[in-house]
């Protein structure tokens, strides 16, 4: 199936831990994104990579570090997790320069306890 797939789907962890979320797309898109959706359902962009190059880096704590080993993968590593990091994290991709919309993964629900 052509898609954006992210793992894990659920992540429950204790405060202070370090965790990673992985994302892969097989759509051939050149741009990938990480979004955070909070409890109020507001979608906020965190990072964007175009062909492995960071192009958007919003005001996000530096505990969050994206890594793009190639244009089909964008992983998110979070250090020293805090309660406020609990949210749903979505990976998305699109082909830059087109007028097609974004393709989203199904999300990773992160719960920090």
């Amino acid at each position: 199936d052509t898609a954006v797939s992210q793992t894990p789907k659920y992540l429950v962890t204790q405060m202070g831990n370090d965790k990673s979320i992985k994302c892969e797309q097989n759509l051939g898109h050149d741009t990938m994104y990480w979004y955070k959706q909070d409890s109020k359902k507001f979608l906020k962009i965190m990072f964007s990579y175009n062909n492995k190059e960071l192009i958007i880096n919003e005001t996000v704590p530096n505990r969050f570090s994206p890594k793009s080993p190639d244009k089909a993968h964008l992983n998110l590593h979070i250090n020293s997790l805090e309660l406020g990091d609990s949210a749903v994290y979505f990976c998305a991709s699109r082909e830059q320069g087109t007028t097609y919309g974004y393709t989203f993964g199904s999300g990773t629900r992160l719960t920090v306890v």
Binding site: F42, I45, E58, F90, Y102, S106
Partner: protein, 111 residues
Amino acid sequence: SQKIEQNSEALNIQEGKTATLTCNYTNYSPAYLQWYRQDPGRGPVFLLLIRENEKEKRKERLKVTFDTTLKQSLFHITASQPADSATYLCADAGNNRKLIWGLGTSLAVNP
């Protein structure tokens, strides 16, 4: 600051009727206004995109209109079905090309 606003109240309609959802924007002019559907526990799914110089776009039972005078986009679902029940989000790239999202409007289509 650039903003996109959607009606936060849930919309309840009867099956077969036309659902109309509103997206208002302030302090900028959208370039590519997009509509997405989000089901609980899933990521947003792209539905339609309308450009700033287009008045209307259609796809099957979906229609999007763009009124630059009113600073508004309307999203219509004709002959609505219970399976259309979901949250509908509008978004636009804004002036700096970072996607700005509305909070979404929840639609419930009653059989």
